[in-house]
Symmetry: C2
Subunit: 263 residues, 2 copies
């Protein structure tokens, strides 16, 4: 099933995508819901952010090539993580598919994309073992972990480098069934492929993370885990459009624009 | 005004504390609200977590003594931050006043408290200057930034050291007026004072943080900023009770207990 949060006729609802149509749902996928007779053409609705997570988890270093390229740039030997350690991103930065990433006037030209698989949690869960781990997963969406690399280098944490308003596009929808083994992530800059990697080629997989996280944390419906990225990004400039396609899920597309200078 | 989230007669509501009574409010303090005729004795209600913030901000290093003591323990020279840099905590870890902090079976004995002033945002705001900064503040509450120091030392980030379930007590209520200049934070371990500092003796104050954060982030109603702590903590063990009192706000009290071993 493919769950979409959308606005049509000035009303925001959950819907199910079937072919080129959206079936309006009463309720939400994490609780009670039922189909209605109200439908729209997918092309006619405004696609909204699927959700604002209660806790916004994100893996920092989870693909070997990305680690090596980042270490090379710093003239260092890459250090491969020996266990799954989770990080966080901030809710203020989230935007929907087709909304604009705004490059602040105070940012440098070192704006990069990171195409990521996003796991959406569907059930309250703690202390899951490897057999149970995937049972709390509701589905998958796509994230673009936009980063300002000069801030990332200068700061004690990732606060503005990763969490500036609009730096976390997520969507376009949540797909509940996905074949992790055959997934590819393809990134296109202005329509031209700039990056491609096997989505599940992670240092630690989804099961590893859920088992380790749930030793300490209660996972809640609507929590998201961004699973990290492979490869690197050219510098993005105002006017560029980044598309991230993941097999079986869809394509997240966002245009980058310059911040309007306050009058 | 003193805003309390509470449960009585199986219903959770916002209320206003007046003397020893709670006036039940219809609505919430960030939107439309009005007083009702339903009141309870404060001692008769269950005090709830005031809110789950949309984004959960926290200052890491904001008091000189805390920095020096931490650096001493590492045999290092303390590095005083030269600008206000914000960090984050995770929503899963929040608990209310009088709820129990659960020490996991897999934790070490290095469990510490950190008594902190918590700023509660009341208005959507961005790009605030020094004159406007405090206008987005709704009020103040109290936080205990419980930490497991061996995890803090071993890990790449603060994920389990600071964000394990129940490690973020917050409350008991939100006080809208406070005299920052005369505030003191007093911490008591099992009723005996263990720490005391001038709450506003921060390296960077609330205005500094709001100005800097709002250059990059939209602040939302219900966001919280934990302002950091001074001094250090003894090791807390199961059975201990920690009280954090801040002048003009109140006292946040939580007992620490050992995690039940699963059967």
């Amino acid at each position: 099933m493919r769950w979409l949060k959308f606005t049509a006729d000035r009303t925001t609802s959950w819907g199910l995508i079937e072919g080129d149509r959206v079936i309006t749902i009463d309720g939400d996928p994490f609780g009670e819901w039922h189909r209605t007779s109200r439908t729209h053409l997918l092309g006619d609705v405004k696609i909204e952010l699927p959700l604002v997570p209660r806790t916004f988890y994100c893996v920092g270093l989870n693909y070997v090539k990305h680690l090596k390229e980042a270490a090379d740039k710093r003239g260092e030997v890459p250090e491969i993580p020996s266990r799954p350690e989770i990080g966080y991103r901030a809710q203020n930065a989230l935007i929907a598919h087709d909304e604009e990433v705004i490059i602040p006037t105070i940012a440098s030209e070192k704006i990069h994309y990171e195409g990521e698989l996003v796991v959406v949690i569907g059930k309250k869960a703690k202390h899951l073992d490897r057999q149970e781990a995937m049972s709390c997963v509701f589905g998958y969406t796509i994230g673009n972990d936009v980063s300002e690399r000069t801030w990332q280098k200068a700061d004690r944490g990732l606060w503005r480098a990763k969490n500036t308003d609009t730096f976390k596009p997520m969507g376009p929808w949540i797909e509940t069934s996905a074949d992790l083994g055959t997934m590819e992530t393809v990134v296109r800059l202005n329509g031209k492929e700039s990056n491609r990697f096997r989505t599940n080629d992670m240092i630690f997989g989804i099961t590893d993370y859920i088992v380790e996280m749930s030793r300490y944390f209660t996972l809640w419906p609507g929590d998201v885990i961004w699973m990290g990225t492979d490869g690197s990004s050219p510098d993005i400039k105002a006017g560029d459009t980044v598309e991230i396609e993941i097999t079986g899920i869809g394509t997240l597309r966002n245009k980058f624009v310059a911040e309007a200078v306050p009058a």
